[in-house]
Symmetry: C2
Subunit: 232 residues, 2 copies
């Protein structure tokens, strides 16, 4: 197996999957919980639909733009650390050279090997900076231009997740009729979503499905209890 293909397999749970998981986990949970919570307090499906759609809009934008800014911040953080390493290598080369030696020794290299390798790495500034970024700081250059896609993916996943639990409140007339349908639909979706998520994150699918469903159910139960308490 060539290294590239091998690395690929390890990183299957990549940026796209991560973004879908981020958006859909909250999208399936919070609008459902809000609708369930309001079901304990108001008797008008119109108010629940209005609140639900307002929440979905707010959540999708907040999470999408949040993802956009997080991706930008990663890139800027990388660039500011890169500049700092470049400056430090120019200003305190001996300190930085000691750090290279220290990192190599930490990896169990014998002193004379560490010395030879330190000399090889620090003989080229570009290589030296690369080494410090990856081995001292553990930073990899973030993929440029990922921000927009990331934001759209998170938002769409949030909207898709959020509309499902709201649908019964749109289609049925009574809150008491819509709540159990919404709960059943959402639990089924959480089970499937949790299972698929587990497949990508390397957690056993059944366990992941149960975990995800329990989170959604607890959130909804708390929202229901609080809404009923406040409105009574």
């Amino acid at each position: 197996m060539p290294p590239a293909q091998h690395i690929e397999k390890h990183f299957l749970s990549s940026a796209l999957v991560r973004d879908i998981v981020i958006g859909m986990a909250d999208g399936l949970t919070v609008p459902f919980a809000l609708a369930a919570g309001l079901s304990g307090a108001v008797s008008s499906t119109a108010i629940i639909v209005t609140a639900g759609l307002a929440e979905i809009a707010a959540g999708a934008i907040a999470m999408g733009l949040g993802g956009y800014l997080a991706a930008r911040t990663d890139l800027e953080h990388y660039e500011s650390e890169l500049q700092r390493e470049i400056d430090e290598i120019a200003q305190v080369p001996e300190t930085e050279r000691t750090e290279v030696r220290h990192i190599l020794r930490e990896h169990g290299l014998a002193p004379h090997l560490a010395e030879t390798l330190t000399a090889a790495i620090t003989s080229d500034h570009q290589r030296w900076v690369d080494f410090m970024m990856r081995f001292e700081l553990g930073l990899e250059k973030p993929e440029a231009g990922r921000e927009f896609n990331s934001a759209m993916t998170i938002s769409c996943a949030y909207i898709a997740g959020g509309l499902l639990p709201l649908a019964p409140y749109v289609l049925l007339d009574s809150v008491s009729g819509a709540l159990p349908v919404s709960a059943a639909l959402t639990m089924a979706a959480l089970l499937v979503f949790g299972g698929v998520k587990g497949h990508f994150t390397g957690v056993a699918p059944l366990r992941s499905a149960l975990q995800t469903t329990i989170v959604g159910t607890l959130a909804a139960a708390a929202a229901f209890a609080i809404a009923r308490l406040v409105s009574s």
Copy 2:
């Protein structure tokens, strides 16, 4: 400057700060936007407070438990990849040895140096596994037992962020009177929060403050527009 202290400085934006940022960014944005959105559709502060508190409960639990599970998943992902590397080194040592050589060559090491270093690294299985985990996969062992603290921090930050925009709806009688106070309070909080966040993430504080405030405002405007549209 000794290496340890130096690394410390780079990683100031650590787990705690990250968790507070995650919780508060959404806590300040979504409940505010939901309340603002409902202000465009209903005239009862009681309904807005009920919906807001239900949302805060749901969001705090969903995000807190989400953080708990994410921290667990990180740990499990690390352990499953660790086991995979241990197995691969036992089963296909030549492939793994080629990968070590390949990584070192990618770092610009001359062939004979890469060869010497590969032999040194692969002479000890523990060291070999460590090298693959850190340099091939870029994974560092997650801090154990962080899950509970992470969950509590995210939840509390979400609640703190969410109660602020809701307070005017609790204290004032009319929706039209509470909305501008809530908007002003939230914008002030977003500016401060964005500025502090920028300080920790290495983004210019003023820019971070404006970005964060714009996200909150856009989310609230969209929620407001949708709620008005639906209820009209």
